[in-house]
Amino acid sequence: VRGAVSFESLTREDLLVLGRAAGLEIPEEDLDPLLDALRGYGRSFSKVEELDLDGVDPVLTYNPGWQQ
């Protein structure tokens, strides 16, 4: 999907920069498993990126009102 977030091209160095921006010191030994996990997450989320969500409001709190 054009413009969709992609984690496939991220590098270990990118993670350190992103971590610093988030105020997080990512330990050296976490970089490879984190890259692997982020790429897995990104591949999983690609299904959602394909949806047309124009005009759809987000669920920000659960509302059980539909029972009534």
Binding site: V5, L15, L18, G19, A22, G23, L24, E25, I26, P27, E29, D30, P33, L34, A37, L38, G40, Y41, R43, S44, F45, S46, K47, V48, E49, L51, L53, V56, D57, P58, V59, L60, T61, Y62, P64, W66, Q67
Partner: protein
């Protein structure tokens, strides 16, 4: 004569009421069973034998004086997941991050259980904070070479093995229903907002629930009757009337409309839990008088990515301070998952919540359009052999987490055994706040299929008491 530890809550409560047994005798049988099975199963993190003895003595005194009966859990030994606060025993969440932490008060649900006269036997093993490895090697009650499920691993195993009559679990992504399914017991994820969550360590405000794990659907209804109620400190909690969830449990399924969705609910990564169990259950319910409607909800294919994009940012937000101040107190797997949550873009989180709306609307339309009272879908399990390898979190199917995303009630119900003798399970979900109907259906099915009510043959060991004192 059966051993006392293998009674159901309903049976034990009836015997207490008729003075055929005392709370102290029930507790003694439970503690003896814990001694026998704990070396193999590792279900408990902290045993609370001393305070439990005091609670059992108190219950016996009160029951002896007519008019002081507190309800169906009075004098019944119940265990609590180690993510749920107890003022008189540590709540460590299965992690070094909270090593030695003793909360200054009970969780809302523990207070309700104690007010209802339950005897708290101890804290049960949880995956670290609900998503990491377990601090003790908890094993499946049916075969110790197999996984116990999680994250309420100890709660599911303890109930299955007879080392508690019922248990408290928490569920943000199947954590009550998964261990219940893998250990052949009943696990209920209540409607979000029905059971107060104050004092339960959080993963996600919109996904977390607290609920019961028991051996029968009737016991689940009895526990829920005590656990449910408004919690003023939980913003998600909703006022609800005092309901006895067992009141209509014997009414059968005649006249009920029950949906069956298999195509999009079979775990694509665990085909062993194929359609057979759910189809067999649907046939049984049809024979019992229900109308079964086969339907298709293709939006279910979105479940896992929406759940991932919701739960990890939510969980990371709760751990934000600890992750920065005590990063080395986390195991690496847990730390990496929290780092993932920190790096998921906010716009993607909101996109996931918009897709969640599509999914919720699809499920609601299936219920309303087909006038359904409940939905049968494949459950978790069967258990897989214990693995020490890395978990590929984003490559594992997790279809039952849909009911965390929609907030609906869902119960995992035993559905027979596979060729290896391991429990199979199915899920029954219902309309919000209609726990009564799904427990009634589960009860009808289990009554008509009594082969599901078996106990695992846990090898007995010589164990020295006091290994895990509170």
């Amino acid at each position: 004569m059966s051993a006392l530890w293998d009674l159901s809550v309903a049976q034990a409560s009836g015997m207490l009421d008729h003075r055929e047994v005392s709370a102290r005798e029930l507790l003694a049988a439970t503690l003896e069973r814990i001694e026998e099975t704990e070396p193999q199963l590792c279900a408990y993190q902290h045993l609370m034998a001393e305070s439990a003895q005091q609670e059992a003595c108190q219950a016996d005194k009160e029951i002896a004086q007519r008019g002081q009966w507190r309800g169906p859990l009075h004098g019944i030994p119940i265990c609590v997941k180690d993510l749920v606060f107890t003022h008189d025993a540590p709540t460590e969440g299965g992690s070094q991050v909270l090593a030695g932490f003793v909360p200054f008060r009970d969780a809302n649900v523990v207070r309700r259980l104690r007010d209802g006269g339950a005897v708290i036997t101890g804290k049960t093993v949880t995956s670290a904070f609900g998503f990491g490895p377990t601090p003790r090697p908890t094993r499946n009650a049916w075969d110790q070479r197999y996984d116990a499920g999680g994250s309420s691993a100890g709660s599911g195993v303890a109930v299955a093995a007879g080392s508690a009559y019922g248990a408290v679990g928490t569920d943000a992504g199947g954590s009550i229903r998964h261990p219940a399914a893998l250990n052949g017991v009943v696990g209920l994820k209540p409607t979000c907002g029905l059971v107060g969550r104050t004092g339960a360590l959080a993963m996600s405000a919109s996904l977390d629930v607290v609920g019961p794990i028991t051996r029968t659907a009737l016991d689940c209804a009895l526990m829920l009757s005590v656990m449910a109620g408004y919690d003023p400190l939980d913003p998600q909690s909703l006022p609800s009337p005092d309901i006895r969830y067992d009141a209509s449990i014997d009414k059968g399924v005649d006249g009920l409309r029950i949906g069956l969705e298999i195509d999009h609910f079979v775990d694509p990564t665990r085909p062993a839990n194929g359609p057979e169990t759910a189809e067999r259950v649907a046939r049984s319910l049809s024979e019992l008088g229900a109308t079964v409607v086969t339907l298709s909800i293709p939006e279910a294919n979105l479940i896992e990515p929406i759940h991932h994009a919701t739960i990890w940012p939510d969980t990371s937000a709760y751990h934000r301070r600890w992750l920065r101040e005590q990063p080395r107190d986390y195991d690496q797997h847990s730390r990496v998952m929290l780092e993932v949550g920190e790096l998921i873009p906010a716009a993607q989180y909101v996109t996931a919540q918009r897709a969640r709306r599509v999914l919720c609307d699809a499920i609601r339309s299936a219920f309303v359009g087909n006038r359904l009272d409940a939905l049968v879908t494949p459950g978790w399990g069967p258990a897989t052999p214990v693995s020490t390898g890395p978990v590929k979190m984003f490559e594992v199917g997790m279809r039952p987490v849909v009911f965390n995303l929609t907030g609906m009630p869902a119960v995992s119900v035993p559905g027979g055994f596979n060729a290896d003798g391991l429990p199979m399970a199915f899920e029954l979900s219902g309309r919000p706040f209609d726990e009564q109907t799904i427990l009634r259906i589960a009860h009808s099915y289990l009554q008509a299929n009594p082969g599901n009510r078996r106990f695992p043959d846990v090898p007995i060991a010589n164990w020295k008491p006091g290994l895990h004192p509170s």
